[in-house]
Amino acid sequence: MALLEIEGLSVRFQTSSGLFTAVEDVDISVDRGEVWSIVGESGSGKSVSMLATMGLLPWTAQVTADRLEFDGQDLQRLSSRQRRRIVGGEMSMIFQEPMSSLNPCFTVGTQIDEMIKQHKGGSRKERHERALDLLAQVGIPDPARRIKAFPHQLSGGMSQRVMIAMAISCDPRLLIADEPTTALDVTIQAQILELLLKLQEEKGMALILITHDMGVVAETAKHVIVQYAGRQVEKQEVKSLFANPRHPYTEALLSALPERAGDQDRLPTIPGVVPGQHDRPTGCLFNPRCRYVTDHCREVEPVVAPDDPARTLCHYPLNDPAEALATPSHDVSGHPPSDGQRPPEANDVNRGNREVRP
């Protein structure tokens, strides 16, 4: 059984103009010691789905799920007191803005101590030693001096290290990192990512990394979930996602990366914008921006094919693994080729040539 098991997670917010669905039907299953990544643009619901898992959303949020289990315990049924014991202790989270996540009025020592006191207990001296040890583990030079520092005395990278020290203070089995390096410079980003992976390996933690940066995904995670407008559109291993994206959105996103565009004059773009609360299209949410769109896409919401390992939310997934094996008889994986279902115009497009009309 997996460590974190989420099925059919949806989050709705009551707003002045009606119910807004921020996240719909998200499935995640994370095993011990795995590194996952959730990638998507702003408004894709990647943070909201993890905040819902942590139980950190405000009361206006309506969280529903078919299954929301951590280590076999049903998080939806636990009392808030019981849940509080798991959150922060066994399942812990770090956020994008280290500067604003730390309390400016207390020293970092006090803030780390609070975590340990809450979840692990121990004498004052033991806790102090544990805090010093944690600061050393996250690579803060001179911990004995830094433990007395206030957050404003630390740089962004140092603050994020303190946040990580707090998050790992209770030996969590799952660490969720929400854009942990977005506010940092690249050389500092490289240090922080390396630290997270080192700690993940040493402690055998599972790590879920929320990011919008495809480069970070490629260099850190093993599995990746792509979200678009609150829906999970694809779930794959990182290597095969970059080699054979199954969802048209993933493909478009990858080809919009400047480093993958090659020598073309213009960058391939995705026309339009992510739909908001009031301009949700009917049928597939990506259809107004999709280059392979058909009338079927505009009318009918796609469902994930039951035999699709990548769980692609699309009527006409690309790069069918059966085709990729390049066997003339399509029976290798036991299911029929999707060619028959794919519209003729999508077949005519030469996928090697990624130029997209604006």
């Binding site: 643009e41 702003s42 740089s155 990278g157 140092m158 410079d185 690249v186 050389t187 500092i188 980003q189 490289a190 240090q191 990512l193 919008h212 940066d213 495809m214 480069g215 970070v216 995904v217 490629a218 260099e219 990182v238 290597k239 970059f242 080699a243 478009a252 996103l253 990858l254 919009a256 990366l257 400047p258 480093e259 993958r260 565009a261 004059d265 213009r266 960058l267 391939p268 773009t269 995705i270 026309p271 914008v273 992510v274 921006r289 604006p358």
Partner: protein, 336 residues
């Protein structure tokens, strides 16, 4: 090259005085030190570096928002000589326009798009009739890929990418020759970023604009830059044609910066020039080369003197006394 540069800077320097408080002595922050470069029409000069390296100070000096402490700035053949608190001549100000990182903050929420676009004309082309101004604003709205009906809307009704288009349109209203772009796409989502970059390329071609493109995103810079300046701690450490700098980074900092940038290719094996520690405090600059405390090649010699930019090949200049060693290190890593 026998073309005339639209902008040239020689030893451009900007220092800030920090007043002493009850517990601190007055100090000087050297935000920008000895930057020299030339900018040609239709070309893009990228300025790369981490926060606090003086990129934005350079933008402020180039747009004449602030005068340089020393050094010379020549725009369109006219030398800009500014004293503290003096306003630059209007004719020069029209030539250089700036676009900021955050399109949410740089547009006035209480003005419609058309009003914002007409304002520069109102101030600088007083003879122009109101209907002509409106006409020009509408033309520009279409040029940047918005629709005429957007003219009478307010900034909050637009998405981030559209707002950046409005900011670009506003900057182009006076037909400038130079556009300073201060992180123009870093606040935008990936799919929108590509749209704005394409728009910038189109406009550059159409109007023959020269861009000073300030960014920390190396994959974007590599794509659009003709020349690159890599800055660290207020001073250029490596300059040259983008092709040359990206194919063989020579300064140890450039190498570290390039190798720290995540690449969207999971099959690539990572070979990092590791960088320890963080940039030094501008109030307590290290002796000698400012990069020495973080550099893996640093020797005692490095802390004695700040190395000047020196030509190493063709058009590439590097400020490092161990250049040969740094280049050899990369070649070894590639060979092995």
């Amino acid at each position: 090259m026998n073309r005339e540069p639209v902008l040239s800077a020689t030893h451009l320097t900007r220092h800030y005085q920090i007043k002493g408080g009850a517990f601190s002595k007055p100090a000087t922050v050297k935000a920008l030190n000895e930057a020299s470069f030339e900018l040609f029409p239709g070309q893009t000069l990228a300025v790369v570096g981490e926060s606090g390296c003086g990129k934005s100070t350079l933008a402020r000096v180039l747009t004449m928002i602030e005068p340089p402490t020393s050094g010379e700035l020549t725009i369109g053949g006219h030398q800009v000589s500014l004293k503290e608190g003096q306003r630059p001549p209007a004719a020069l100000r029209r030539e250089v326009q700036i676009i900021f990182q955050n399109p949410y903050g740089s547009l006035n929420p209480r003005k419609t798009v058309a009003t914002m676009l007409e304002e520069p004309l109102k101030l600088n082309r007083k003879e122009m009739h109101a209907t002509e101004r409106r006409q020009k604003a509408l033309e520009m709205i279409e040029k940047v890929g918005l629709r005429p009906e957007h003219a009478d809307r307010y900034p909050h009704m637009f998405s981030g990418g559209q707002r950046q288009r409005i900011a670009i349109a506003r900057a182009l209203m006076l037909n400038p020759k130079i556009l300073v772009l201060d992180e123009p796409v870093s606040a935008l989502d990936l799919s929108i970023q590509a749209q704005v970059l394409n728009l910038l390329a189109d406009l550059q071609e159409e109007f023959g604009l020269a861009y000073v493109f300030i960014s920390h995103d190396l994959s974007v810079v590599r794509r659009i830059a003709d020349d690159v300046i890599v800055m660290y701690f207020g001073q250029p450490v490596e300059t040259g044609p983008a092709e040359a700098v990206f194919s063989t980074p020579r300064h140890p900092y450039t190498q570290a910066l390039f190798s720290a940038t995540p690449v969207a290719d999971p099959t690539r094996s990572r070979q990092r020039v590791k960088l320890k520690g963080e940039p030094p405090s501008p109030l307590a600059p290290p002796p000698g080369c400012p990069f020495a405390p973080r550099c893996h090649l640093a020797t005692a010699e490095c802390t004695r003197e700040d190395p000047p930019l020196e030509s190493v090949s063709d058009a590439v200049k590097v400020a490092c006394i161990h250049v040969d060693q740094a280049v050899a290190g990369v070649e070894r890593a590639e060979a092995g």
